[in-house]
């Protein structure tokens, strides 16, 4: 059994993965698609020999960079598409937009922890027997199960040596949450 990583980088990564788990459950719930984390290995619904899609969206911040990966079989994605208003052939766009919303929510959560991230735009691909490359740096995968479908998140992050959180400001106020709307 490996020793727990008590470094600042380890603690921050643990926070990031914990927040990602929360926002994943929240995002799917917002579309009336309840999910629960079920483990770190592929759920029975995810067989990589099936046609699958993966969305990858990068992020960077002061001393940290990485990517969020969202992986699901196309059969799983089809279960969400009706709730999302998507039609046939839009599996990749659906997955890409979900990855975008997930990372946006994670960014909002981490702002109040003095970690500011900038986000890239998602890239998606589909195919049979997709294999993800081995992560560099820290990585954590989590499988979530819905009624009859699964989705996997993977968060990869690398920290520069000497990484520190930003100086603590007053509590971050005014972070807009999902669903918020404001007029100026």
């Amino acid at each position: 059994m490996s020793e727990p990583d008590c470094s600042l980088e380890g603690e921050v990564f643990k926070l990031m993965t914990s927040c990602l788990e929360d926002v994943t459950v929240e995002l799917f719930s917002a579309y009336d698609l309840p999910v629960a984390p079920v483990g770190r290995e592929f759920a029975p619904h995810i067989a990589t020999s099936e046609r699958s899609s993966v969305a990858i969206i990068g992020f960077g911040g002061n001393g940290v960079r990485g990517a969020l990966l969202l992986f699901a079989t196309n059969a799983s994605i089809e279960r969400w598409m009706a709730a999302f208003g998507a039609g046939p052939g839009e599996e990749s766009d659906t997955l890409g937009e979900f990855s975008n919303m997930l990372l946006g929510r994670l960014k909002g959560r981490l702002l109040s922890e003095n970690l500011t991230l900038l986000l890239s735009t998602p890239t998606t691909t589909s195919g049979n027997a997709l294999q993800l490359s081995s992560p560099q740096g820290q990585s954590s995968s989590q499988v979530f199960a819905g009624a009859d479908w699964s989705v996997m998140t993977r968060l990869d992050a690398s920290f520069d040596s000497g990484f520190t959180l930003e100086a603590s400001h007053a509590p971050v106020e005014g972070v807009a949450e999902a669903g918020d709307a404001m007029l100026f």
Binding site: G85, M101, G179, M182
Partner: protein, 124 residues
């Protein structure tokens, strides 16, 4: 008179969600995939009454689009529709002339209320 809305987003799904929310009310919706495409569409279709714009997009993001459009003086109201909620980014958009900010996933009724406020439909 028809009220024309330009929705700018690299996701076809989001563009369609916006269109679905507004078309039934009598708005005509034109689509663009990024800021560059939007500027081209605005040149060829000057009669736009409202712009709904994503922030994170390839080629030209929503903040750059506000700068290029000169949104502060352009006269066409722009509402940002994005996953971003960072206060500094919201303030930046506001300073550049954006009239509103909506965080995805959005509630269609909020978008409709925003459209009616910024680009009211003519009385029937």
């Amino acid at each position: 008179m028809s009220m024309n809305v330009l929705v700018i987003d690299d996701s076809g799904l989001v563009r369609r969600q916006v269109a679905n929310a507004l078309k039934g009310l009598g708005y005509s919706v034109l689509e663009a995939v990024d800021g560059v495409d939007a500027l081209t569409k605005l040149e060829s279709t000057p009669d736009i009454h409202l712009i709904v714009c994503d922030v994170n997009m390839p080629n030209m993001n929503g903040i750059e689009f506000l700068e290029k459009l000169d949104a502060k003086n352009n006269g066409v109201p722009v509402v940002m529709l994005t996953t971003e909620g960072q206060p500094e980014m919201i303030q930046r958009a506001k300073a550049l002339g954006a009239k509103g900010w909506i965080v995805k996933p959005f509630k269609p009724e909020f978008l409709v209320a925003t459209a009616k406020k910024l680009a009211p439909l003519p009385a029937a």
